[in-house]
Symmetry: none
Subunit: 277 residues, 2 copies
Protein backbone atom coordinates (compact mmCIF):
# COMPACT_ATOMS: atom_id res chain seq x y z
CA UNK A 1 0.00 0.00 0.00
CA UNK A 2 2.70 2.50 0.99
CA UNK A 3 4.44 3.68 -2.22
CA UNK A 4 8.12 2.96 -2.92
CA UNK A 5 8.87 6.59 -3.71
CA UNK A 6 7.42 10.09 -3.44
CA UNK A 7 8.23 13.32 -5.27
CA UNK A 8 9.39 16.37 -3.30
CA UNK A 9 5.95 17.98 -3.63
CA UNK A 10 4.15 14.82 -2.47
CA UNK A 11 6.51 14.48 0.47
CA UNK A 12 6.18 18.15 1.48
CA UNK A 13 2.40 18.04 1.16
CA UNK A 14 2.02 15.08 3.53
CA UNK A 15 4.64 16.51 5.90
CA UNK A 16 2.78 19.83 6.15
CA UNK A 17 -0.68 18.26 6.34
CA UNK A 18 0.40 15.98 9.23
CA UNK A 19 1.88 18.98 11.02
CA UNK A 20 -1.38 20.88 10.44
CA UNK A 21 -3.30 18.05 12.10
CA UNK A 22 -0.93 18.05 15.12
CA UNK A 23 -1.30 21.82 15.57
CA UNK A 24 -5.09 21.69 15.14
CA UNK A 25 -5.66 18.82 17.57
CA UNK A 26 -3.17 20.02 20.20
CA UNK A 27 -4.45 23.58 20.33
CA UNK A 28 -8.14 22.68 20.11
CA UNK A 29 -7.48 20.47 23.12
CA UNK A 30 -5.76 23.30 25.04
CA UNK A 31 -8.47 25.77 23.98
CA UNK A 32 -11.26 23.52 25.29
CA UNK A 33 -9.51 23.10 28.66
CA UNK A 34 -9.04 26.88 29.01
CA UNK A 35 -12.71 27.43 28.12
CA UNK A 36 -14.08 25.00 30.76
CA UNK A 37 -15.09 27.79 33.18
CA UNK A 38 -17.05 29.41 30.34
CA UNK A 39 -19.83 26.79 30.54
CA UNK A 40 -21.89 25.69 33.56
CA UNK A 41 -20.45 22.79 35.59
CA UNK A 42 -23.04 20.30 34.29
CA UNK A 43 -21.62 20.67 30.73
CA UNK A 44 -17.94 20.42 31.66
CA UNK A 45 -17.89 16.62 31.39
CA UNK A 46 -18.63 16.84 27.66
CA UNK A 47 -16.04 19.60 27.14
CA UNK A 48 -13.39 17.64 29.05
CA UNK A 49 -13.98 14.54 26.96
CA UNK A 50 -13.79 16.68 23.79
CA UNK A 51 -10.42 18.06 24.97
CA UNK A 52 -9.12 14.56 25.78
CA UNK A 53 -10.17 13.25 22.35
CA UNK A 54 -8.21 16.03 20.61
CA UNK A 55 -5.23 15.41 22.92
CA UNK A 56 -5.21 11.67 22.12
CA UNK A 57 -5.41 12.47 18.40
CA UNK A 58 -2.51 14.95 18.66
CA UNK A 59 -0.40 12.24 20.37
CA UNK A 60 -1.12 9.74 17.61
CA UNK A 61 -0.33 12.26 14.89
CA UNK A 62 3.07 12.94 16.51
CA UNK A 63 3.65 9.19 16.13
CA UNK A 64 2.31 9.09 12.57
CA UNK A 65 4.46 12.10 11.67
CA UNK A 66 7.69 10.48 12.91
CA UNK A 67 6.73 7.15 11.37
CA UNK A 68 6.35 9.00 8.05
CA UNK A 69 9.57 11.03 8.19
CA UNK A 70 11.58 7.96 9.24
CA UNK A 71 10.13 5.82 6.44
CA UNK A 72 11.55 7.90 3.58
CA UNK A 73 14.98 9.14 2.63
CA UNK A 74 15.79 11.72 -0.03
CA UNK A 75 18.44 11.93 -2.71
CA UNK A 76 17.94 15.71 -2.74
CA UNK A 77 20.92 17.99 -2.68
CA UNK A 78 19.95 21.61 -2.21
CA UNK A 79 16.34 20.93 -1.40
CA UNK A 80 14.72 19.28 -4.46
CA UNK A 81 14.64 15.58 -5.22
CA UNK A 82 12.86 12.28 -4.82
CA UNK A 83 12.13 10.35 -1.65
CA UNK A 84 12.50 6.60 -1.48
CA UNK A 85 11.49 4.14 1.22
CA UNK A 86 14.15 3.39 3.79
CA UNK A 87 14.97 -0.31 3.90
CA UNK A 88 13.92 -1.65 7.27
CA UNK A 89 11.50 1.18 8.06
CA UNK A 90 7.82 1.27 7.23
CA UNK A 91 4.99 3.68 7.71
CA UNK A 92 2.69 2.38 10.43
CA UNK A 93 -0.98 2.71 9.43
CA UNK A 94 -1.98 0.84 12.59
CA UNK A 95 -1.63 3.98 14.75
CA UNK A 96 -4.88 5.19 13.22
CA UNK A 97 -6.76 2.15 14.59
CA UNK A 98 -5.27 2.55 18.05
CA UNK A 99 -6.37 6.19 17.95
CA UNK A 100 -9.89 5.37 16.78
CA UNK A 101 -10.31 2.57 19.34
CA UNK A 102 -9.94 5.23 22.04
CA UNK A 103 -11.44 8.32 20.40
CA UNK A 104 -14.50 6.98 18.55
CA UNK A 105 -16.32 5.75 21.69
CA UNK A 106 -15.34 9.04 23.41
CA UNK A 107 -16.79 11.11 20.55
CA UNK A 108 -20.16 9.42 21.13
CA UNK A 109 -19.80 9.99 24.88
CA UNK A 110 -19.25 13.75 24.25
CA UNK A 111 -22.41 13.96 22.19
CA UNK A 112 -24.57 12.25 24.81
CA UNK A 113 -22.91 14.06 27.75
CA UNK A 114 -23.50 17.56 26.40
CA UNK A 115 -27.25 16.89 26.30
CA UNK A 116 -27.24 16.50 30.11
CA UNK A 117 -30.05 13.95 29.91
CA UNK A 118 -31.51 12.09 32.89
CA UNK A 119 -29.00 9.53 34.14
CA UNK A 120 -31.19 6.57 33.10
CA UNK A 121 -31.63 7.71 29.50
CA UNK A 122 -27.94 8.61 29.27
CA UNK A 123 -26.67 5.25 30.46
CA UNK A 124 -29.13 3.39 28.23
CA UNK A 125 -27.72 5.24 25.19
CA UNK A 126 -24.08 4.85 26.23
CA UNK A 127 -24.20 1.14 27.11
CA UNK A 128 -25.22 0.53 23.52
CA UNK A 129 -23.20 3.18 21.64
CA UNK A 130 -19.80 2.63 23.26
CA UNK A 131 -19.48 -1.16 22.84
CA UNK A 132 -20.80 -0.83 19.26
CA UNK A 133 -18.15 1.80 18.48
CA UNK A 134 -15.33 -0.31 19.97
CA UNK A 135 -16.55 -3.38 18.04
CA UNK A 136 -16.70 -1.38 14.79
CA UNK A 137 -13.02 -0.37 15.09
CA UNK A 138 -11.82 -3.76 16.35
CA UNK A 139 -13.44 -5.53 13.37
CA UNK A 140 -11.91 -3.08 10.88
CA UNK A 141 -8.36 -3.69 12.09
CA UNK A 142 -7.79 -7.30 10.85
CA UNK A 143 -9.10 -6.17 7.44
CA UNK A 144 -6.70 -3.24 7.27
CA UNK A 145 -3.76 -5.50 8.17
CA UNK A 146 -4.75 -8.27 5.71
CA UNK A 147 -2.91 -8.51 2.43
CA UNK A 148 -5.75 -10.09 0.44
CA UNK A 149 -8.92 -8.38 -0.67
CA UNK A 150 -11.25 -11.17 0.47
CA UNK A 151 -10.26 -10.85 4.15
CA UNK A 152 -10.39 -7.08 3.75
CA UNK A 153 -13.93 -7.32 2.33
CA UNK A 154 -15.23 -9.72 5.00
CA UNK A 155 -13.99 -7.65 7.94
CA UNK A 156 -15.18 -4.45 6.23
CA UNK A 157 -18.65 -5.94 6.01
CA UNK A 158 -18.62 -7.18 9.62
CA UNK A 159 -17.45 -3.76 10.81
CA UNK A 160 -20.30 -1.99 9.07
CA UNK A 161 -22.92 -3.86 11.14
CA UNK A 162 -22.09 -2.00 14.40
CA UNK A 163 -21.72 1.22 12.31
CA UNK A 164 -25.31 0.83 11.04
CA UNK A 165 -26.47 0.15 14.61
CA UNK A 166 -24.77 3.37 15.85
CA UNK A 167 -26.52 5.37 13.12
CA UNK A 168 -29.86 3.80 14.12
CA UNK A 169 -29.35 4.80 17.79
CA UNK A 170 -28.23 8.34 16.88
CA UNK A 171 -30.85 9.13 14.26
CA UNK A 172 -33.85 7.26 15.65
CA UNK A 173 -33.51 6.72 19.39
CA UNK A 174 -31.62 9.92 20.24
CA UNK A 175 -34.19 12.01 18.39
CA UNK A 176 -36.78 11.11 21.04
CA UNK A 177 -34.52 12.57 23.75
CA UNK A 178 -34.12 15.84 21.88
CA UNK A 179 -37.68 17.03 22.36
CA UNK A 180 -36.92 18.74 25.66
CA UNK A 181 -33.88 20.63 24.31
CA UNK A 182 -34.18 24.31 23.29
CA UNK A 183 -34.85 24.80 19.54
CA UNK A 184 -31.42 26.27 18.71
CA UNK A 185 -29.73 23.39 20.53
CA UNK A 186 -31.80 20.82 18.60
CA UNK A 187 -30.69 22.40 15.35
CA UNK A 188 -27.00 22.38 16.33
CA UNK A 189 -27.22 18.75 17.45
CA UNK A 190 -28.67 17.78 14.05
CA UNK A 191 -25.70 19.53 12.49
CA UNK A 192 -23.33 17.62 14.75
CA UNK A 193 -24.88 14.28 13.77
CA UNK A 194 -24.55 15.13 10.09
CA UNK A 195 -20.89 16.11 10.62
CA UNK A 196 -20.35 12.76 12.31
CA UNK A 197 -22.00 10.88 9.44
CA UNK A 198 -20.08 12.85 6.76
CA UNK A 199 -16.66 12.53 8.40
CA UNK A 200 -17.03 8.89 9.48
CA UNK A 201 -18.08 8.14 5.91
CA UNK A 202 -14.54 9.02 4.74
CA UNK A 203 -12.98 6.10 6.64
CA UNK A 204 -14.86 3.18 4.96
CA UNK A 205 -14.34 4.83 1.55
CA UNK A 206 -10.59 5.08 2.23
CA UNK A 207 -10.67 1.46 3.48
CA UNK A 208 -12.19 0.25 0.21
CA UNK A 209 -9.85 2.12 -2.19
CA UNK A 210 -7.12 -0.57 -2.45
CA UNK A 211 -9.82 -3.22 -3.02
CA UNK A 212 -11.07 -1.48 -6.14
CA UNK A 213 -7.56 -1.09 -7.56
CA UNK A 214 -6.95 2.56 -6.68
CA UNK A 215 -3.35 2.45 -5.57
CA UNK A 216 0.03 4.07 -6.30
CA UNK A 217 1.63 7.13 -4.81
CA UNK A 218 -0.99 9.72 -5.84
CA UNK A 219 -3.79 7.63 -4.35
CA UNK A 220 -1.77 7.13 -1.18
CA UNK A 221 -1.10 10.87 -0.81
CA UNK A 222 -4.80 11.57 -1.44
CA UNK A 223 -5.73 8.99 1.18
CA UNK A 224 -3.46 10.54 3.83
CA UNK A 225 -4.89 14.01 3.11
CA UNK A 226 -8.43 12.60 3.25
CA UNK A 227 -7.80 10.94 6.64
CA UNK A 228 -6.17 14.13 7.95
CA UNK A 229 -9.00 16.43 6.92
CA UNK A 230 -11.58 13.96 8.26
CA UNK A 231 -9.69 13.79 11.57
CA UNK A 232 -9.62 17.60 11.90
CA UNK A 233 -13.35 17.87 11.18
CA UNK A 234 -14.42 14.83 13.22
CA UNK A 235 -12.46 15.86 16.33
CA UNK A 236 -11.59 19.58 16.35
CA UNK A 237 -14.66 21.01 14.61
CA UNK A 238 -16.84 18.45 16.42
CA UNK A 239 -15.37 19.49 19.79
CA UNK A 240 -15.89 23.17 19.01
CA UNK A 241 -19.55 22.49 18.16
CA UNK A 242 -19.87 20.62 21.48
CA UNK A 243 -18.50 23.79 23.15
CA UNK A 244 -21.07 25.88 21.28
CA UNK A 245 -23.93 23.63 22.42
CA UNK A 246 -22.63 23.74 26.01
CA UNK A 247 -22.56 27.57 25.85
CA UNK A 248 -26.10 27.80 24.45
CA UNK A 249 -27.44 25.43 27.08
CA UNK A 250 -25.57 27.26 29.86
CA UNK A 251 -27.13 30.58 28.83
CA UNK A 252 -30.59 29.11 28.59
CA UNK A 253 -30.19 27.45 32.05
CA UNK A 254 -28.88 30.50 33.93
CA UNK A 255 -29.63 34.13 33.11
CA UNK A 256 -27.01 35.54 35.53
CA UNK A 257 -24.31 33.45 33.90
CA UNK A 258 -25.48 34.64 30.46
CA UNK A 259 -25.37 38.29 31.62
CA UNK A 260 -21.71 38.06 32.58
CA UNK A 261 -20.64 36.07 29.52
CA UNK A 262 -22.55 37.76 26.71
CA UNK A 263 -22.10 41.22 25.23
CA UNK A 264 -24.34 43.76 27.01
CA UNK A 265 -26.60 43.93 23.97
CA UNK A 266 -27.04 40.16 23.56
CA UNK A 267 -27.59 39.68 27.29
CA UNK A 268 -30.47 42.17 27.30
CA UNK A 269 -32.00 40.70 24.14
CA UNK A 270 -31.79 37.19 25.67
CA UNK A 271 -33.54 38.55 28.78
CA UNK A 272 -36.33 40.03 26.64
CA UNK A 273 -36.83 36.76 24.72
CA UNK A 274 -36.91 34.74 27.97
CA UNK A 275 -39.47 37.09 29.53
CA UNK A 276 -41.71 37.02 26.45
CA UNK A 277 -41.83 33.18 26.50
CA UNK B 1 15.79 29.70 -2.54
CA UNK B 2 17.59 28.27 0.50
CA UNK B 3 21.32 29.07 0.18
CA UNK B 4 23.94 26.34 -0.20
CA UNK B 5 26.07 27.77 2.58
CA UNK B 6 25.99 30.26 5.44
CA UNK B 7 28.78 31.99 7.35
CA UNK B 8 29.08 31.49 11.10
CA UNK B 9 27.56 34.96 11.71
CA UNK B 10 24.62 34.31 9.37
CA UNK B 11 23.96 30.93 10.98
CA UNK B 12 24.17 32.31 14.53
CA UNK B 13 21.90 35.24 13.66
CA UNK B 14 19.10 33.06 12.34
CA UNK B 15 19.55 30.59 15.20
CA UNK B 16 19.18 33.34 17.80
CA UNK B 17 16.32 35.12 16.04
CA UNK B 18 14.31 31.88 15.76
CA UNK B 19 14.91 31.22 19.44
CA UNK B 20 13.76 34.77 20.26
CA UNK B 21 10.51 34.12 18.39
CA UNK B 22 9.91 30.85 20.29
CA UNK B 23 10.46 32.58 23.65
CA UNK B 24 8.26 35.54 22.71
CA UNK B 25 5.34 33.48 21.40
CA UNK B 26 5.43 30.83 24.12
CA UNK B 27 5.52 33.26 27.02
CA UNK B 28 3.03 35.73 25.54
CA UNK B 29 0.70 32.75 25.26
CA UNK B 30 1.27 31.73 28.90
CA UNK B 31 0.97 35.35 30.06
CA UNK B 32 -2.40 35.80 28.33
CA UNK B 33 -3.77 32.60 29.88
CA UNK B 34 -2.66 33.72 33.36
CA UNK B 35 -4.25 37.15 32.80
CA UNK B 36 -7.68 35.75 31.84
CA UNK B 37 -9.26 36.49 35.26
CA UNK B 38 -8.08 40.12 34.95
CA UNK B 39 -10.74 40.93 32.35
CA UNK B 40 -14.52 40.44 32.57
CA UNK B 41 -15.84 37.05 31.30
CA UNK B 42 -17.28 38.57 28.10
CA UNK B 43 -13.76 39.51 26.94
CA UNK B 44 -12.11 36.20 27.78
CA UNK B 45 -12.96 34.64 24.41
CA UNK B 46 -10.76 37.18 22.62
CA UNK B 47 -7.92 36.71 25.15
CA UNK B 48 -8.12 32.91 24.86
CA UNK B 49 -7.91 33.07 21.08
CA UNK B 50 -4.92 35.47 21.38
CA UNK B 51 -3.20 32.94 23.67
CA UNK B 52 -3.95 30.05 21.29
CA UNK B 53 -2.57 32.03 18.31
CA UNK B 54 0.74 32.62 20.12
CA UNK B 55 0.82 28.96 21.20
CA UNK B 56 0.33 27.72 17.63
CA UNK B 57 3.06 30.11 16.43
CA UNK B 58 5.44 28.84 19.15
CA UNK B 59 4.78 25.24 18.04
CA UNK B 60 5.59 26.09 14.42
CA UNK B 61 8.76 27.96 15.35
CA UNK B 62 9.96 24.90 17.28
CA UNK B 63 9.48 22.98 14.02
CA UNK B 64 11.10 25.72 11.90
CA UNK B 65 14.03 25.86 14.33
CA UNK B 66 14.70 22.10 14.09
CA UNK B 67 14.19 22.15 10.34
CA UNK B 68 16.87 24.88 10.18
CA UNK B 69 19.42 23.26 12.49
CA UNK B 70 19.04 19.89 10.72
CA UNK B 71 19.47 21.45 7.26
CA UNK B 72 23.03 22.73 7.81
CA UNK B 73 26.26 21.16 8.95
CA UNK B 74 29.42 23.02 9.94
CA UNK B 75 33.07 22.46 9.15
CA UNK B 76 33.91 24.54 12.22
CA UNK B 77 36.45 23.20 14.63
CA UNK B 78 36.51 25.14 17.88
CA UNK B 79 33.61 27.41 17.03
CA UNK B 80 34.21 29.33 13.76
CA UNK B 81 33.50 28.09 10.28
CA UNK B 82 31.10 27.81 7.40
CA UNK B 83 27.81 25.98 7.31
CA UNK B 84 26.80 23.94 4.28
CA UNK B 85 23.53 22.26 3.48
CA UNK B 86 23.21 18.66 4.58
CA UNK B 87 22.51 16.34 1.63
CA UNK B 88 19.08 14.86 2.12
CA UNK B 89 17.82 17.55 4.50
CA UNK B 90 15.93 20.65 3.49
CA UNK B 91 14.61 23.70 5.29
CA UNK B 92 10.81 23.54 5.18
CA UNK B 93 9.30 26.94 4.38
CA UNK B 94 5.87 25.30 4.23
CA UNK B 95 5.51 25.44 8.05
CA UNK B 96 4.90 29.15 7.75
CA UNK B 97 1.86 28.55 5.54
CA UNK B 98 0.48 25.87 7.85
CA UNK B 99 0.91 28.34 10.71
CA UNK B 100 -0.76 31.19 8.85
CA UNK B 101 -3.65 28.98 7.70
CA UNK B 102 -4.55 28.53 11.36
CA UNK B 103 -3.44 31.83 12.92
CA UNK B 104 -4.49 34.47 10.38
CA UNK B 105 -8.24 33.70 10.61
CA UNK B 106 -7.87 33.53 14.42
CA UNK B 107 -6.18 36.97 14.53
CA UNK B 108 -9.25 38.44 12.84
CA UNK B 109 -11.51 36.52 15.25
CA UNK B 110 -9.62 38.07 18.23
CA UNK B 111 -10.14 41.56 16.88
CA UNK B 112 -13.88 41.09 16.37
CA UNK B 113 -14.39 39.15 19.63
CA UNK B 114 -12.80 41.80 21.87
CA UNK B 115 -15.35 44.37 20.65
CA UNK B 116 -18.16 42.24 22.20
CA UNK B 117 -20.55 43.33 19.45
CA UNK B 118 -24.12 42.08 19.16
CA UNK B 119 -24.09 38.48 17.95
CA UNK B 120 -25.66 39.37 14.58
CA UNK B 121 -23.07 42.02 13.69
CA UNK B 122 -20.26 39.79 14.93
CA UNK B 123 -21.27 36.77 12.86
CA UNK B 124 -21.79 38.93 9.78
CA UNK B 125 -18.20 40.21 10.08
CA UNK B 126 -16.70 36.81 10.86
CA UNK B 127 -18.46 34.85 8.12
CA UNK B 128 -16.75 37.18 5.64
CA UNK B 129 -13.36 37.74 7.28
CA UNK B 130 -12.49 34.15 8.18
CA UNK B 131 -13.10 32.48 4.77
CA UNK B 132 -11.32 35.39 3.06
CA UNK B 133 -8.30 34.93 5.35
CA UNK B 134 -8.15 31.17 4.75
CA UNK B 135 -8.47 31.71 0.99
CA UNK B 136 -5.68 34.31 1.03
CA UNK B 137 -3.24 31.85 2.64
CA UNK B 138 -4.37 28.83 0.59
CA UNK B 139 -3.79 30.76 -2.66
CA UNK B 140 -0.33 31.86 -1.57
CA UNK B 141 0.89 28.31 -0.88
CA UNK B 142 1.06 26.94 -4.48
CA UNK B 143 2.98 30.11 -5.44
CA UNK B 144 5.48 29.66 -2.63
CA UNK B 145 6.03 26.00 -3.61
CA UNK B 146 6.38 26.78 -7.34
CA UNK B 147 9.84 26.95 -8.85
CA UNK B 148 9.00 29.40 -11.68
CA UNK B 149 8.24 33.10 -11.29
CA UNK B 150 5.13 33.09 -13.49
CA UNK B 151 3.23 30.66 -11.24
CA UNK B 152 4.54 32.59 -8.25
CA UNK B 153 3.21 35.85 -9.72
CA UNK B 154 -0.21 34.46 -10.68
CA UNK B 155 -0.90 32.97 -7.24
CA UNK B 156 0.48 36.08 -5.57
CA UNK B 157 -2.01 38.18 -7.54
CA UNK B 158 -4.93 35.83 -6.79
CA UNK B 159 -4.04 35.83 -3.11
CA UNK B 160 -4.12 39.63 -2.93
CA UNK B 161 -7.82 39.74 -3.91
CA UNK B 162 -9.05 38.31 -0.57
CA UNK B 163 -6.39 40.46 1.18
CA UNK B 164 -7.91 43.61 -0.35
CA UNK B 165 -11.37 42.42 0.67
CA UNK B 166 -10.22 41.90 4.31
CA UNK B 167 -8.82 45.44 4.38
CA UNK B 168 -12.14 46.77 3.03
CA UNK B 169 -14.13 44.98 5.75
CA UNK B 170 -11.74 46.12 8.49
CA UNK B 171 -11.33 49.74 7.46
CA UNK B 172 -14.80 50.48 6.06
CA UNK B 173 -17.39 48.13 7.52
CA UNK B 174 -15.86 47.65 10.96
CA UNK B 175 -15.60 51.41 11.42
CA UNK B 176 -19.41 51.61 11.54
CA UNK B 177 -19.47 49.18 14.46
CA UNK B 178 -16.96 51.25 16.41
CA UNK B 179 -19.28 54.18 17.09
CA UNK B 180 -20.61 52.70 20.33
CA UNK B 181 -17.15 51.91 21.72
CA UNK B 182 -15.59 54.25 24.31
CA UNK B 183 -13.23 56.86 22.76
CA UNK B 184 -10.00 55.37 24.17
CA UNK B 185 -11.02 51.94 22.89
CA UNK B 186 -11.71 53.35 19.41
CA UNK B 187 -8.22 54.84 19.34
CA UNK B 188 -6.55 51.59 20.40
CA UNK B 189 -8.51 49.61 17.81
CA UNK B 190 -7.32 51.97 15.07
CA UNK B 191 -3.78 51.33 16.28
CA UNK B 192 -4.40 47.58 16.16
CA UNK B 193 -5.65 47.78 12.58
CA UNK B 194 -2.59 49.76 11.54
CA UNK B 195 -0.33 47.19 13.22
CA UNK B 196 -2.15 44.48 11.29
CA UNK B 197 -1.71 46.32 7.99
CA UNK B 198 1.98 47.09 8.65
CA UNK B 199 2.94 43.57 9.74
CA UNK B 200 0.88 41.73 7.12
CA UNK B 201 2.50 43.95 4.51
CA UNK B 202 5.86 42.26 5.26
CA UNK B 203 4.66 38.87 3.96
CA UNK B 204 3.79 39.84 0.35
CA UNK B 205 7.05 41.85 0.11
CA UNK B 206 9.02 38.81 1.26
CA UNK B 207 7.04 36.67 -1.19
CA UNK B 208 8.01 38.91 -4.11
CA UNK B 209 11.77 39.13 -3.35
CA UNK B 210 12.89 36.05 -5.33
CA UNK B 211 10.81 37.23 -8.31
CA UNK B 212 12.72 40.50 -8.58
CA UNK B 213 16.07 38.73 -8.42
CA UNK B 214 16.94 39.39 -4.79
CA UNK B 215 18.37 36.08 -3.77
CA UNK B 216 21.50 34.58 -2.26
CA UNK B 217 22.38 33.99 1.35
CA UNK B 218 22.21 37.61 2.60
CA UNK B 219 18.72 38.07 1.13
CA UNK B 220 17.63 34.74 2.64
CA UNK B 221 18.93 35.71 6.09
CA UNK B 222 17.19 39.09 5.78
CA UNK B 223 13.97 37.36 4.78
CA UNK B 224 14.03 35.04 7.81
CA UNK B 225 14.67 37.98 10.14
CA UNK B 226 11.84 39.95 8.47
CA UNK B 227 9.37 37.06 8.88
CA UNK B 228 10.44 36.59 12.51
CA UNK B 229 10.04 40.25 13.49
CA UNK B 230 6.69 40.42 11.66
CA UNK B 231 5.52 37.29 13.49
CA UNK B 232 6.46 38.75 16.90
CA UNK B 233 4.64 42.02 16.18
CA UNK B 234 1.61 40.47 14.44
CA UNK B 235 0.98 37.91 17.17
CA UNK B 236 2.60 38.86 20.50
CA UNK B 237 2.27 42.65 20.37
CA UNK B 238 -1.15 42.26 18.73
CA UNK B 239 -2.28 39.90 21.52
CA UNK B 240 -1.03 42.29 24.20
CA UNK B 241 -2.99 45.15 22.61
CA UNK B 242 -6.08 42.91 22.60
CA UNK B 243 -5.50 42.42 26.35
CA UNK B 244 -5.23 46.20 26.81
CA UNK B 245 -8.54 46.75 24.98
CA UNK B 246 -10.19 44.01 27.04
CA UNK B 247 -8.97 45.70 30.26
CA UNK B 248 -10.22 49.15 29.19
CA UNK B 249 -13.62 47.77 28.24
CA UNK B 250 -13.86 45.76 31.47
CA UNK B 251 -13.24 48.90 33.54
CA UNK B 252 -15.76 50.92 31.58
CA UNK B 253 -18.41 48.13 31.94
CA UNK B 254 -18.00 47.53 35.68
CA UNK B 255 -16.87 50.11 38.23
CA UNK B 256 -16.53 47.56 41.06
CA UNK B 257 -14.19 45.48 38.94
CA UNK B 258 -12.19 48.60 38.04
CA UNK B 259 -11.93 49.53 41.75
CA UNK B 260 -10.34 46.20 42.61
CA UNK B 261 -7.99 46.12 39.62
CA UNK B 262 -6.75 49.70 39.39
CA UNK B 263 -4.50 51.68 41.71
CA UNK B 264 -6.52 53.67 44.27
CA UNK B 265 -5.71 56.92 42.50
CA UNK B 266 -6.68 55.70 39.02
CA UNK B 267 -9.89 54.10 40.30
CA UNK B 268 -11.09 57.36 41.83
CA UNK B 269 -10.20 59.40 38.74
CA UNK B 270 -12.08 56.85 36.56
CA UNK B 271 -15.08 57.26 38.90
CA UNK B 272 -14.97 61.05 38.57
CA UNK B 273 -14.79 60.87 34.74
CA UNK B 274 -17.72 58.40 34.60
CA UNK B 275 -19.82 60.62 36.91
CA UNK B 276 -19.10 63.73 34.86
CA UNK B 277 -20.32 62.02 31.64
Amino acid sequence: MIPDSLTQIQYDTIYNVFSLVIASQLFTSIFLVICLPRVLPRYRQAMTVAAIVCGIAAYHYFRIFSSFTEAFVTDAVGGRGNYTQVAGASFNEGYRYVDWLLTVPLLLLELVAVLALARKVQSSLLTRLIPAAALMIALGYPGEMASDNLTRGIFGLLSSIPFAYILYVLFVELTRSLERQPATVRKTISLLRLLLLATWGVYPIAYLLPGIGIDGSDAWVGLQIGYSVADILAKCLYGLIIYRIARMKSFSDDQTFADSELSLEDASSLKRSTLSN
